[in-house]
C-alpha cells in the first residue's frame, strides 16, 4: 500500500479489491489526497489536526480515553535522539490522521518483513487521536548534574524540580521521566496503538519508564462539553480553563515570548500526578460530609450556597450558624484562584482503575494532568494549599508525579518535536 494517505478504515474497505483496486480508486476518485509525513492537505473526518502553533491534545476537547507514557532516554547519542523525535513526529502525523504508523503499514509489506505498524487500529477511525510530547527536567541534566545532550543551558527555569508536598509518598519507579507522550482518543485501542508504535520506534533510544491508562475524562476543556465525574462521584473540572477562553489561555496556559528560552514559546508545562483514591472509605461517608469536603453539591455540581453548576463559589458567604458555607478546608476553596493569587490550570485528568489490590479494594483513582504557563506560579502554590489542608486528603494517596515541558506545535513537514530545542 506504500505511502498512500488512505485512512485505516478506508484501506480496509478497499483491501477487498486488492492493491490494484486501491490505486484505481485513488486515481478515479481523486478524493484521496496525496501527501507525506507531517503534511495535512485535507482534514480527515474524525481527525484532530496535527500541526499548528500549539500541540494538539491540550485544549483539544478532552477525549474519553488516555494512554500516557514516560520514557527514559537510554542512548548517549544526541543524533539518535533527534532522529527518533523526527521519526516520532512523522509517525504521529500519520496516526492522528487515522493512518498506519509507517509507510508500509500493517499489511502492505513483503511476507518476510515485520510490518511497520502493529495493526490493532486497522479499521478504526482516527477517533480524535492526539499525541502530545513533553521533555522532563532529567533530559537536560541527569541526577549527577551531567549535561546529557548539550541542552542544559536551554532548560527553562520554569522546569524546576517540583518540591515535596506534605503527605506525598511517591514511587520513584512511576514518577518522572526524560520524555513523555500523552495519547488521547475516543477509542482506547487507538490510544494504545499510538503509544505502542511510538515505543517500538524508540527502542534503543528510549525505554518505557512507566505508563498509565485512563478510561474516562475527568475534565472538560471546552464549553461544548458536559462536565464529567470522577470516581468520588462528583463533577470535576467545572471551573477549568477552556478552549474558548483565548485571553485566559494566553495568561495561564501558553508560554509567552520572554517567559524563558524561546524554544518553549507557544508550549505549556505539564504536571501529572497519579492519585489513588480510597473509594471504599469514601463511599461510607455521608452525603453531607462528601459535599462539605468537595464544596459542591454531588448532583448538580453547584458550589455550596449556589444552585447552578457554573455559578462562582462565594468564598465569603456564611451560614446561619456563622460558619463559612464553603468549609475552610474544602477542596473548592483551597483550589480556587482567589486562594492562590489568581493561579489557574488547564486540567486534563482521567479516571483509572488498575484492577484490585491485594486487600480486594479497587486500585482506582485519578490520573491528574494539568497544563500551565509556569508551574512555579500555578501548580505548586495550588498543590501546597491542597496538600496542607484539604479534607479530601484522608481519602487520597498520591503515588506518582512528573513534570514535562511540552514544546509548541509542529508547524509543517520539515518541522519536528524539539527542533528548536535541538537546533
Amino acid at each position: 500500500m506504500s505511502d498512500s494517505i488512505v485512512s485505516r478504515r478506508r484501506a480496509i474497505a478497499l483491501a477487498g479489491v486488492g492493491v490494484a483496486g486501491v490505486a484505481g480508486a485513488a486515481a478515479v476518485g481523486g478524493a484521496l489526497v496525496k501527501g507525506a509525513s507531517a503534511e495535512e492537505p485535507h482534514p480527515v473526518e474524525g481527525a484532530v489536526g496535527f500541526t499548528g502553533e500549539h500541540q494538539a491534545g491540550i485544549v483539544t476537547p478532552a477525549q474519553d480515553r488516555l494512554h500516557f507514557v514516560a520514557f527514559d532516554v537510554i542512548t548517549k547519542d544526541r543524533e539518535r535522539l533527534v532522529g527518533m523525535l523526527k521519526d516520532w513526529t512523522t509517525a504521529a502525523a500519520r496516526m492522528t490522521a487515522g493512518r498506519d504508523a509507517g509507510e508500509i503499514g500493517a499489511v502492505g509489506g513483503i511476507p518476510e518483513a515485520p510490518p511497520d505498524d502493529t495493526g490493532e487500529a486497522l479499521g478504526l477511525p482516527p477517533s480524535a487521536l492526539t499525541i502530545t510530547v513533553g521533555f522532563g527536567p532529567t533530559l537536560f541534566r541527569d541526577a549527577t548534574g551531567k549535561d546529557r545532550f548539550g541542552i542544559a543551558a536551554r532548560r527553562p527555569e520554569a522546569l524546576a524540580d517540583l518540591p515535596h508536598f506534605a503527605g506525598d509518598r511517591l514511587d520513584e519507579a512511576i514518577s518522572g521521566g526524560d520524555l513523555c507522550v500523552q495519547a488521547c482518543a475516543n477509542d482506547p485501542q487507538v490510544a494504545v496503538h499510538a503509544i505502542r508504535n511510538l515505543a517500538r520506534i524508540g527502542m534503543g533510544v528510549v525505554s518505557v519508564r512507566w505508563s498509565q491508562l485512563g478510561f474516562g475524562r475527568t475534565s472538560s476543556t471546552s464549553t461544548t462539553q458536559a462536565t464529567p465525574r470522577n470516581l468520588f462521584g462528583f463533577k470535576d473540572g467545572t471551573s477549568n480553563l477552556k478552549l474558548e477562553e483565548t485571553e485566559l489561555l494566553r495568561e495561564h496556559l501558553w508560554v509567552q515570548p520572554g517567559d524563558g528560552p524561546e524554544w518553549m514559546t507557544g508550549g505549556s508545562y505539564l504536571v501529572s500526578r497519579k492519585i489513588r483514591m480510597i473509594v471504599e472509605t469514601w463511599d461510607r461517608s455521608s452525603l453531607a460530609e462528601q459535599e462539605m469536603i468537595v464544596g459542591r453539591r454531588k448532583g448538580s455540581g453547584a458550589p455550596l450556597g449556589k444552585t447552578g453548576e457554573f455559578e462562582e463559589p462565594d468564598l465569603d458567604a456564611r451560614g446561619a450558624d456563622g460558619e463559612p458555607v464553603l468549609a475552610v478546608n474544602s477542596h473548592v476553596r483551597l483550589a480556587h484562584p482567589n486562594t492562590n493569587g489568581g493561579a489557574r490550570l488547564l486540567r486534563r485528568g482521567y479516571n483509572f482503575v488498575d484492577g484490585s489490590d491485594g486487600l480486594g479494594r479497587l486500585d482506582a483513582g485519578l490520573f491528574f494532568v494539568a497544563y500551565q504557563r509556569d508551574p512555579r506560579k500555578q501548580f505548586v502554590p495550588i498543590q501546597r494549599s491542597l496538600s496542607r489542608s484539604d479534607e479530601m486528603n484522608e481519602y487520597l494517596k498520591p503515588v506518582s508525579q512528573a513534570l514535562f515541558a511540552c514544546p509548541p506545535g509542529v508547524t509543517g513537514p520539515v518541522d519536528f518535536w524539539g527542533r528548536a530545542l535541538f537546533s
Binding site: E112, A113, P114, M203, G204, S207
Partner: protein, 380 residues
Amino acid sequence: MRTTRILALAAVGVLGGALAACGGDKADDTAAGAAGGPITVKASDTACEVARNQTDAGTSVFTVTNGGNKVTEFYVYAPGDRVMGEVENIAPGLTRELHVELPAGSYETACKPGMIGKGIRAALTVSGSAAPLTDDAKLADATASYSRYVRSQTAALLPRTEEFVAAVKAGEVDKAKALFPVTRTYWERIEPVAEIFGDLDPKIDGREEVIEEGMEFTGFHRLEKDLWAAKPDVSQDGPIADQLLADVKEIVAKANAEKLSPLQLANGAKALLDEVATGKITGEEDRYSHTDLWDFNANIEGSKAAIASLRPVLEERDPALVKTLDAEFANVDTTLAKYRDGDGWKLHNTLSEADLKGLSDAINALAEPISKVAAVVSKK
C-alpha cells in the same frame, strides 16, 4: 514452538535447499601443503601462540594443543567476527585439528581459555587471488558458513552432554551442577536449528509447564530440578539421563545434516533474541539453577554467528543495517559483561529489577534491527 513453525515455513522459501554447501570441513591438503603445512597453535590459559601469521588462500590446517588447565576453543574470524572455522571443547592436554577454507583477506585467530570472552586474538593474513563472490555465491557461502558453525557446536554438545549425563548417573551432584550451564551453552547457541525438529525440542529442553498430558517431564530441566532440589536426589534419574543423551545424539545427527536457507539464518538470529526476551530475562528458563545468563549469552553468540554468516550479503545490500547491528551487539555485550562472574555468570536471582531492565532494553535495541534482516536477505 513458534520458532519451529516460522523456520518450517522458511524451509520452502526461495533459496532453501537450492544451494549446495561450499567450503566446509573437507580437507584440501594440497592447498594446505602449498601454504607451508599445518599451522601449530600452542594454547594455554593466558597465551595463544600461532606459529605463522600469514598463509595462502585455500584450505589451512591448524593444529591446536591445549597446554593450559582450562578447556579452550580456537577460532578463525573474518571481519565482524564471522566464524570461518572453530574447534570447541579442547580439554587440557588435547590436540585438535581445524581445517578451514580461507579466501584471501584479513582474519583473526583466537583462543578462548575457559570458553569465554573475545579470546586471545592475533591477526592472520591470507594472500592469493580469489574471484569476488557473486550475490548468490555470497548467500551460498552464508549457509555454508553457518553449517560449519552448527557442526562446531554439535561437536561440543555431544561430549559435554555425555559428561553431564555420566555425572548425573554417578550421583556426582556438584560435578553435574557445574556441567549443566556449560553443556547448555552449546545447545542454546543453535537452539533455533534444534527447534526445527519439533518433538525433540520439548523432550530435551521442555520446561515443566509445557509438558502435555501423557508426556513425561524429561530432559535438561527435569535433571536441573532434581539437582537443585533442597535435598538433591538423582538416584532415580538414570533413565532420564540416558534418554537425554539419546535425544541429543539424534538431534546432533539431524542438525548436522540439515541445510538451512539464508532466510532461516535471519529468522534464527531473531528467534534467539526472542528466546532471551521471553525466557531468559524473566528467569523462567533455568528457574531451579538460576543459570539463565549462561543461556542468555549463548543465545546472543548464536544470533551473532548467524548474522556474521550473512554479513557479506548484508554489507552489500544494507551497510547501514550492518553498522547498527554491530553497535547494538556491542551494546548487549557491554551490558551483559557487567554480570560476569569468573568464567561464568552471576545467577539470575541476584540481579535487580533495574539490572534486568537494562538487559531488556539492550535486547530490544538489537532485536528491532535484527527483525529487518530477513527482508534484506530475501530481496532479490
